[in-house]
Amino acid sequence: MASTKLMPKPVNYLNKNFNNFKADLIEYAKTYFPQSYADFNEASPGMMFIEMASYVGDVLSFYIDEQFRESLLAYAEERKTV
């Protein structure tokens, strides 16, 4: 019997803005829930939730980037971090 290997999901650590999060979530829904959800027009309540999640991802990514930048002495901007 052939062994089944779980393929790792491709994770892109650079797609971190609103539009990229939104595109990824839409792709995820199309891949894993094709029978449960098919309405990707902005006017639908489902897309409203997807966009809200994308917005949160965008904001959190900004703070991750900012914190990383502050950890590098050459690029830090805040007085308390230098």
Binding site: F18, Q35, S36, Y37, A38, D39, F40, N41, E42, A43, S44, P45, G46, M48, F49, E51, M52, S54, Y55, D58
Partner: protein
């Protein structure tokens, strides 16, 4: 602008599939198997989408400042004969931009100056099935 005109010939076959769901409906409620209540036909989903679109004020939606209509802004205008025409044009242009697959069949605007409300009734169909119609009715209180 709408992402894509996602309604094509496959939408009709999807409407006939009893297991296929389209999207979430308003008001949001719990449905089967722990999911939100969802629609099973394009027309049913379009009814929800149209309601969501018309009741969203421009600038209200996160990261989509152009999404929505300016019906609520017009409600604060002075009551004059041109108000109904402005509302009609606003609704038609908004629908044409965000729901291009919708055909507006009837649009009745009932602006009552002494009752301080505006009633809007929209009869519509979708391009994949222009013969089936559905309608929504909105009653909006005017400022004051």
């Amino acid at each position: 602008m709408a992402i894509e005109d996602y309604r094509n010939a496959s939408a009709r076959s999807r409407d006939n599939d009893p297991d296929a769901r389209i999207g979430l409906t308003l008001p949001i409620r719990s449905g089967q198997n722990g999911f939100f209540k969802s629609s099973s036909t394009l027309l049913e989903q379009t009814k929800t989408n149209l309601k969501n679109l018309l009741l969203t004020v421009k600038g209200e939606r996160l990261a989509q400042p152009e999404f929505g209509s300016n019906i609520f802004n017009l409600l604060f205008e002075n009551f004059e004969p041109g108000l109904e025409k402005k509302l009609e044009e606003s609704i038609k242009s908004t629908v044409a931009q965000w729901l291009p697959h919708v055909i507006i069949k009837t649009l009745i605007i009932d602006a009552q100056d002494d009752e301080n409300f505006v009633g809007i009734s929209v009869g519509f169909a979708v391009r994949t099935d222009p013969n089936s119609t559905e309608s929504i009715s909105l009653t909006l209180a005017r400022g004051g």
